[in-house]
């Protein structure tokens, strides 16, 4: 198929970017979206032009590196699907596709479609862990975990840290990402001792990193390729209120 691509080009963080149009022909419907961009880049290099920079690694939907806003939607049109897992059979000959980077105050553009998501790591540093130094662990069966809790914790822990939630949120909030971690650790018995300090620390780091506040629009969960539910945000708010009251 033949497609028109309009891609955000920006040479570095300081420069001003703009949308640039390209035409690509002979795209196979079995190709993934990123493979289509690979083909475009091969053509650009052959013409002596700078190829389009984009983040990617596993191309299996698990590392969370890929991060494109496709026709206004983070990760494109297919539900529960990262950009790298999106395949060209979702498109038809003659389509025009807009491709932009994540846009959020806390995720500055580095180049073209690549953004800086290190703010997510800083949120984790502020409490997104259980303190269990190597060697101190009791036997794995010492503490049973009800299956329902373990399953719910897993569902929250399935977050891949891609940042689609932030890109989808009109406020650029990192709430869903943060709440998923708070829920994962808070559902496990091992996570209880730090439950309150964790949520306070993470929320402070979130706000400091320049993420916006959550106004419950739900766009985050709708865009999440791992379908993390809004319920985790309710949990975080409850934990936060309790923790703040205690700290007061």
């Amino acid at each position: 198929m033949k497609l028109r691509l309009r891609i955000w080009r920006q040479s570095d963080a300081e420069s001003k970017g703009k949308m640039v149009s390209y035409v690509i022909d002979g795209v196979s419907e079995d190709a993934s979206f990123l493979e289509m961009l690979d083909v475009l880049n091969e053509e650009l290099i052959a013409d002596g032009e700078d190829p389009v920079a984009f983040d990617h690694d596993c191309r299996e939907g698990i590392c969370g590196a890929c991060s494109l806003v496709i026709d206004g939607q983070p990760h494109g049109p297919q539900a529960a699907t990262t950009t790298c897992q999106l395949h060209m059979r979702q498109y038809s000959d003659g389509d025009t596709i807009d491709i932009e980077p994540w846009r959020a105050g806390a995720f500055p553009v580095v180049k073209d479609l690549v953004v800086d998501r290190s703010a997510f790591d800083r949120i984790i540093q502020a409490g997104g862990y259980i303190s269990a130094p190597t060697g101190t662990a009791p036997d794995a069966h010492a503490v049973p975990v009800p299956k329902a809790d373990a399953d719910a914790a897993f569902s929250a822990a399935a977050c891949i840290g891609c940042g689609a939630c932030v890109a989808a949120c009109p406020n650029g909030s990192g709430m869903l990402f943060m709440a998923a971690k708070v829920a994962h650790l808070g559902l496990m018995p091992q996570g209880q001792p730090e439950r309150h300090t964790r949520v306070l620390g993470m929320v402070a780091a979130h706000d400091e990193a320049g993420f916006g506040g959550c106004t419950n629009t739900g766009e985050c969960s709708a865009a999440c390729p791992k379908e993390i539910g809004l319920d985790v945000i309710g949990r975080l708010n409850k934990d936060f209120r309790k923790a703040a009251a205690r700290a007061a």
């Binding site: 040479s11 570095d12 196979s28 079995d30 190709a31 993934s32 990123l34 493979e35 690979d38 091969e42 290099i45 052959a46 032009e49 700078d50 190829p51 920079a53 983040d55 690694d57 596993c58 191309r59 299996e60 939907g61 698990i62 590392c63 969370g64 590196a65 297919q78 529960a80 999106l86 395949h87 180049k111 290190s118 997510f120 790591d121 540093q125 997104g128 862990y129 259980i130 303190s131 269990a132 130094p133 190597t134 060697g135 662990a137 009791p138 794995a140 069966h141 503490v143 975990v145 009800p146 299956k147 373990a150 897993f154 822990a157 891949i160 840290g161 994962h184 496990m188 091992q190 996570g191």
Partner: protein, 646 residues
């Protein structure tokens, strides 16, 4: 035929750190004889850890907890994106929670046998011992493993094991284990013991006064090239399967860190041992950029078959039972669909070579869940494999609940890597190597769910103990920027960058990488021959010469430049590919993942040659004619036998 024209023979090499005595006491003995570093002195010691996968993040976090000053590097934008994140199936541990006869000794035995008697007994036993601690550690970190209704951990059997010793977190075990290690790492970053450098790539090792003392790194955002000096360097940089271009590895996986160390003197062991995974989604076209693994756990319930007759191109549903060949069940009645990976892969190749393959190009076999759905119900199958089925459908556009999956083998894991002793130290003092990057405990073939185990064993438990014996002699003399060795390393990196950017070429890096990959797959893939390997070496040398003449890299040095990153990696893959072929050529036996067509039994199984090849091949870099050092392997506890899964 002599292969001597390709290499020279060197002195044998020995693992001088491996303790003697009963095998189950050796690890304890080594921990006792190794010197310790006083807690107050640890603050004065700096350790570089390159890599944030399971092997790197666990090591960096643990060294930080112990009080060392750690500098940790990865090329991704976050440590959590290391390739370990993609592991699906699970992690082994000899917990015997199932009371099904498992034990440390059985895991040890299975691993030595599974590795086709090409690994070290001492190392493997230690790995089996530590396996149980890993699960404890991960549970304490909050890793949400699958559990049973009673709240205890669930297990499954995996890839050829007859006991259920595999712990898992749905189909995302690697992700959950890595997030545990990543969180422990970020905790140390907050504590100030670990300095994290993301989007940085190590491009050279600095060896000063015979010791590994630092690395040269490029900041992938600004392009700045800088040095980092420390008392010891740990490489946890993963495997090199991407030398084949198409593999199940993430796109960024590369050999550069290991190869640069190799060029500085570190021996590269058993480079030809590659694991080809039997259950991957077949290639769909020339645009293909990677291959996707379908977890091996699928073979627990899926049945592998092809049409009995060649050229049968009916829809799978139209082929009656009697005209199907469930060839694994037929050839290996004891293990059936659960035979080890190397055997399953070769069997798939064999039926496709006979013209009985299915799908595009006849390069595929069916993995059928119809019986499992009948037996367990669709819901149960979905609960177990739902995410995998979904992934398959996204990629192929086919629904595996209704139509059998098509699968084909793909390069998956590399058992070879930098040579290390029992302490995980390479032959360069101060250079340690963990995880898939070392030549590891898996011999010539790795069992499923054992890489995660090894990465975490190395990183959480082995290295933090053994490295202290080396660091006890530190802190080492200060090394500054203008030291000869530092300037030379820095100069070499800048020179390579300049070369690529100024080369007046006309072919893209990827086009070379693809072509190299095709040569490797054709001649150094599932089946290798003397003739093919000689041919491959010639082809690789020619292609490499063309690469340096014609490669075209756009952009500048001082910017984010993904083509430049790739060019450096592919340049190193060329040299590695050649060494892999030389290693494969010299090893005229078949063992594990290394199948030499000339060395097979009457019924087509791999035939080892213990008399001549019971050794680790550790290669020293010496330009186009590497030097071979042999480390002899002793088997005191598991007597070498011909593997049989019949």
């Amino acid at each position: 035929m002599s292969t001597a024209e390709y290499y020279t023979g060197g002195e044998p090499i020995a693992d001088t750190k491996a303790p003697a005595g009963p095998i189950n006491e050796r690890w304890q003995t080594r921990r006792f004889t190794g010197r310790l570093v006083n807690p107050a002195n640890r603050r004065k010691l700096r350790v570089i850890v390159v890599g944030t996968g399971l092997a790197g993040a666990s090591a960096a976090a643990t060294l930080g907890e112990l009080g060392y000053r750690v500098a940790n590097y990865c090329f991704q934008d976050s440590p959590r994106r290391a390739h370990s994140i993609a592991a699906q199936g699970g992690i082994n541990a000899a917990k015997n929670y199932r009371n099904d006869g498992d034990s440390v000794h059985r895991l040890f035995y299975d691993t030595v046998k599974g590795g086709d008697f090409r690994s070290r007994e001492s190392n493997v036993h230690r790995l089996a011992e530590i396996s149980t601690e890993i699960i404890d550690q991960c549970v304490a970190q909050g890793v949400p493993f699958a559990r049973e209704y009673g709240g205890l951990l669930d297990n499954r059997s995996f890839g050829g094991a007859q006991v259920s010793r595999t712990f898992y977190a749905r189909g995302q075990t690697g992700q959950q284990l890595l997030l545990g290690a990543y969180q422990a790492l970020e905790r140390q970053v907050a504590a100030g013991t670990v300095e994290l450098h993301t989007r940085h790539e190590m491009l050279e090792l600095i060896v000063t006064g015979g010791r590994a003392r630092g690395i040269v790194v490029r900041d992938l955002v600004t392009g700045e090239v800088a040095t980092e000096i420390a008392d010891a360097v740990v490489l946890a940089t993963g495997g090199y399967g991407n030398v084949f271009f198409l593999s199940t590895n993430a796109k960024g996986c590369n050999v550069t860190a290991s190869w640069r160390a190799h060029r500085q003197g570190a021996y590269f062991a058993n480079p030809c041992y590659t694991q080809i995974h039997p259950t991957c989604i077949p290639q769909s076209g020339d645009h293909q950029s990677k291959l996707t693994l379908m977890s091996e756990s699928l073979r627990n319930d899926g049945r592998v078959w092809v049409p009995a007759e060649r050229g049968d191109d009916r829809e799978p549903g139209d082929i009656p039972e009697s005209e199907r060949d469930y060839y694994l069940e037929r050839r290996y009645p004891a293990f059936g669909n659960l035979v080890p990976r190397d055997i399953a892969s070769r069997a798939a190749k064999a039926v496709c070579d006979e013209g009985r393959g299915v799908g595009p190009g006849g390069l595929g076999v069916y993995l059928d869940f119809a019986d499992a759905i009948d037996r367990l119900g669709k819901d149960a199958v979905e609960a177990k494999y739902g995410n995998l089925f979904q992934m398959y459908e996204r990629i192929t556009g086919e629904n595996p609940y209704e139509r059998p999956m098509r699968i084909y083998p793909a390069v998956h894991y590399t058992m070879g890597g930098l040579w290390v002793d029992y302490d995980l130290q390479s032959n360069i003092p101060g250079l340690f190597v963990t995880g898939e990057a070392n030549f590891s405990d898996h011999g010539a073939n790795r069992l499923g769910a054992s890489a995660l185990m090894q990465g975490l064993s190395d990183g959480y438990f082995v290295l933090p103990n053994t490295i202290s014996d080396y660091l006890a002699d530190g802190p080492f003399e200060a090394v500054d920027e203008d030291h000869e060795s530092v300037a030379a390393a820095l100069g070499a990196v800048n020179e390579r960058i300049e070369f690529f950017l100024n080369n007046d070429g006309d072919r893209t890096v990827d086009s070379f990488h693809r072509e190299l990959g095709r040569i490797m797959w054709e001649y150094c893939g599932m089946e290798r021959t003397d003739e093919g390997l000689r041919k491959a070496i010639g082809l690789i040398r020619d292609l490499k010469a063309e690469f340096y003449k014609r490669v075209k890299v756009t952009g500048k040095a001082a910017e984010l430049n993904q083509q430049l990153e790739k060019a450096g990696r592919v340049a190193d893959f060329f040299e590695l590919g050649e060494l892999m072929c030389i290693d494969a050529l010299h090893r005229t036996e078949s063992c594990g993942g290394h199948f030499r067509a000339e060395s097979q039994t009457e019924d087509g199984e791999a035939k080892r040659d213990d008399e001549h090849f019971s050794y680790v091949a550790a290669w020293e870099f010496a330009g186009s004619e590497p030097v071979l050092h042999k480390e002899h392997l002793e088997f005191e506890y598991v007597k070498p036998t011909q593997r049989s899964y019949k």
